[in-house]
């Protein structure tokens, strides 16, 4: 187990290295426009420009700039924002907390709902319940996130006036903060559940047709024990894989949900930074998003081994 975890951590380092190079090339080499000139605004002298370039380290060769950036990241220093002139660390951390809270709640809820819904649809295969769930799932997948969010906002905030139409309060500020979370979380959860159920349903169906389920029934186990103890447990691996993949989809959803509901999260920061060509902030936000995704998938891989002893450590290929 330990050797497996260590080898996966080794791969993680390689993947993060690739990620950092891609980010650097994309935002430092390919983006047109000079950040120093952008920082100075419309009116500046040549001396001031050269001095700023030197102080930002833009006059060094690219490889040195890359080395400096990576060294900074390793030390936990993400640089200074070109637009706000503030350390990126502070900007990013505050917003990361917001995005993290919302996506964690959404992931947990959607996982829980998806397991039971797909268990039920597979159990009542081809019933009216199954058909309704499958239709809803297809609908959820095909709805643009912003549209679903706006429809929910229209019904629950504008017409029924039950919930606020946007904004965000920290959970520590009391119960009212929860009302701000409901619509964004509902948007993310509906789409996540729609995706998860679509793929999980066929998995659970395979499990329900397996021999060991017949054995469990024939030895007289009650139906709920067959479902919850045998069927559920054997559907866990594909479920965890999907949850890991779904996490990447959720990041995309977050960017849009934050815009619709005016939530001060990482997604809004990223969109604003891209519009302003604020490259230290873009690099940091993208690096964090990619880093979290890689970590989640590492946890997914490790949990396979932990859950299912049949998977041999270190012998999984690609997958």
């Amino acid at each position: 187990m330990l050797a497996y975890v260590i080898s996966r951590l080794g791969q993680l380092v390689i993947v993060l290295f690739v990620v950092s190079i891609v980010i650097f090339i994309l935002f430092r080499v390919l983006i047109p426009g000079d950040p120093a000139a952008a920082m100075l605004g419309m009116d500046y002298t040549e001396e001031a420009y050269q001095a700023l370039r030197r102080s930002m380290g833009l006059d060094s060769p690219l490889i040195v700039q890359y080395g400096r950036w990576v060294a900074g990241v390793v030390r936990g220093d993400l640089g200074i924002s070109i637009v706000d002139h503030l350390p990126v660390n502070g900007l990013v951390l505050k917003r990361l907390a917001v995005t993290f809270t919302i996506s964690l709640i959404a992931i947990a809820l959607s996982g829980l709902i998806a397991v039971f819904v797909s268990l039920a649809t597979a159990y009542y295969n081809n019933s009216w319940f199954d058909h309704i769930v499958r239709t809803l799932s297809m609908t959820g997948i095909c709805m643009p996130t912003q549209w679903l969010a706006i429809l929910l906002m229209l019904v629950f905030a504008v017409w029924l006036r039950l919930l606020p139409a946007g904004g965000y309060q920290r959970l520590s500020e009391g119960a009212e903060a929860i009302s701000y979370l409901i619509l964004p979380v509902a948007t993310l959860v509906s789409q996540q559940v729609a995706t998860l159920v679509r793929f999980l349903r066929s998995n659970v169906l395979d499990v329900l047709n397996a021999d060991f389920i017949r054995t469990a029934r024939s030895k007289g186990l009650p139906e709920h024990a067959v479902l919850l103890r045998h069927a559920l447990r054997n559907s866990v691996i594909p479920f965890i894989t999907l949850l890991g993949l779904g996490f990447a989809k959720m990041v995309g959803g977050m960017v849009i949900v934050e815009r619709v509901f005016n939530i001060p999260g990482l997604g809004r920061l990223l969109v604003r930074a891209i519009a302003n060509r604020d490259y230290p902030v873009i690099q940091a936000a993208v690096l964090i998003a990619a880093g979290i995704y890689v970590m989640v998938n590492l946890l997914v891989d490790i949990s396979y081994v932990w859950i299912d002893p049949r998977i041999r450590y270190g012998r999984r290929t690609g997958g």
Binding site: V15, M138, T139, C142, M143, I150, V158, K249, R259, V271
Partner: protein, 294 residues
């Protein structure tokens, strides 16, 4: 087993059979019908649209009425006409994104899936690195670098799709490459490229076709997301995604402004995903590619 069998006959080939079954399968031709209707609307936009999508034709924020079926937008342009013209942007970007990403992924997947060894391992590790970026973030990053046009946005979305398609098609190549007829082709000394494109490629057409439909739909949703965030084809060209964001401010007074273009995106994505599902049901239910995971 249709997919795994060696494709050889020309006349009554598997494609004739598949097309025949497709036309007898209601979900398939229904979604195809909706799709054709959308393509017609986009193609004939100047003849169908009641007004110009650019001209100010009435007072701003009019409610839906006989002369403006979906009302007017914030400056007094006809929303229905803008949605009809918006179909052009959405459908072309969806089509080109699916086409470009597949055209790039197929040859590389054929090579990577058959070559093995250290080269394959290196390429797949690199792909893993690219997979770490959520698609919308790659697309946003690329769009921020280039001037947004239909072609550059299609390229941006293709770059985001590419590593995902490469993995999916490679897994299909791996299955076919192990089969006896590929071994036989090698044994009789067929050249490498001939094996790739004449022996393996015809046997992975089903997943490629399904993938095309599904990624067409996904690209439409992604374009809608990009233009909603303000990174789509530059205004005044109408795009469905940007219309939603323009309408957001008027949600209370004129909900149809945002809701109508969203519905158009939904219908387009639904028709394509349903068609992809129907294709899979008809061709081979075990195909791995499915909508919704990007």
């Amino acid at each position: 087993m249709a997919r795994r069998r060696h494709h050889k006959s020309k006349s009554k080939g598997p494609f004739h059979q598949a097309a025949h079954r497709l036309l007898k399968y209601p979900p398939a031709w229904l979604s195809l019908l909706v799709l054709l209707a959308l393509i017609l609307v986009a193609g004939l936009a100047p003849h169908i649209a009641p007004y110009s999508p650019y001209k100010l034709v009435a007072k701003p924020i009019l409610a839906p009425q006989a002369s403006h079926l979906l009302g007017t937008d914030a400056v007094g342009r006809d929303i229905l006409s803008r949605i009809i013209y918006g179909a052009r942007v959405s459908l072309s970007i969806g089509f080109f994104s699916a086409l470009i990403s597949l055209a790039a992924a197929i040859p590389l997947a054929l090579i990577v899936g058959t070559i093995g060894g250290i080269v394959e391992a290196l390429i797949m590790r690199f792909t893993d690195g690219l997979l770490a970026f959520p698609t919308i973030i790659i697309a946003l990053a690329v769009v921020s670098v280039v001037r947004p046009t239909i072609l550059t946005i299609s390229m941006a979305i293709s770059i985001a799709f590419f590593p995902r398609l490469l993995r999916l098609i490679r897994s299909e190549v791996l299955i076919v490459a192990k089969s006896d007829f590929v071994e036989a082709a090698r044994a009789i000394g067929s050249p490498y490229l001939r094996i790739l494109f004449h022996t393996i490629l015809p046997n992975i057409t089903s997943p490629i076709l399904v993938g095309f439909a599904v990624y067409f739909a996904t690209a439409i949703l992604m374009e809608a997301g990009l233009s909603f965030l303000g990174f789509g084809v530059a205004p005044p060209t109408p795009t469905w995604g940007f219309m939603i964001s323009q309408g957001l401010v008027y949600l209370r007074a004129a909900p149809w402004f945002s809701v109508a273009p969203g519905f158009a995106i939904f219908i387009a994505a639904l028709a394509l995903n349903r068609f992809g599902d129907a294709l899979r049901d008809v061709l081979d239910p075990r195909i791995l590619i499915g909508g919704g995971l990007e």
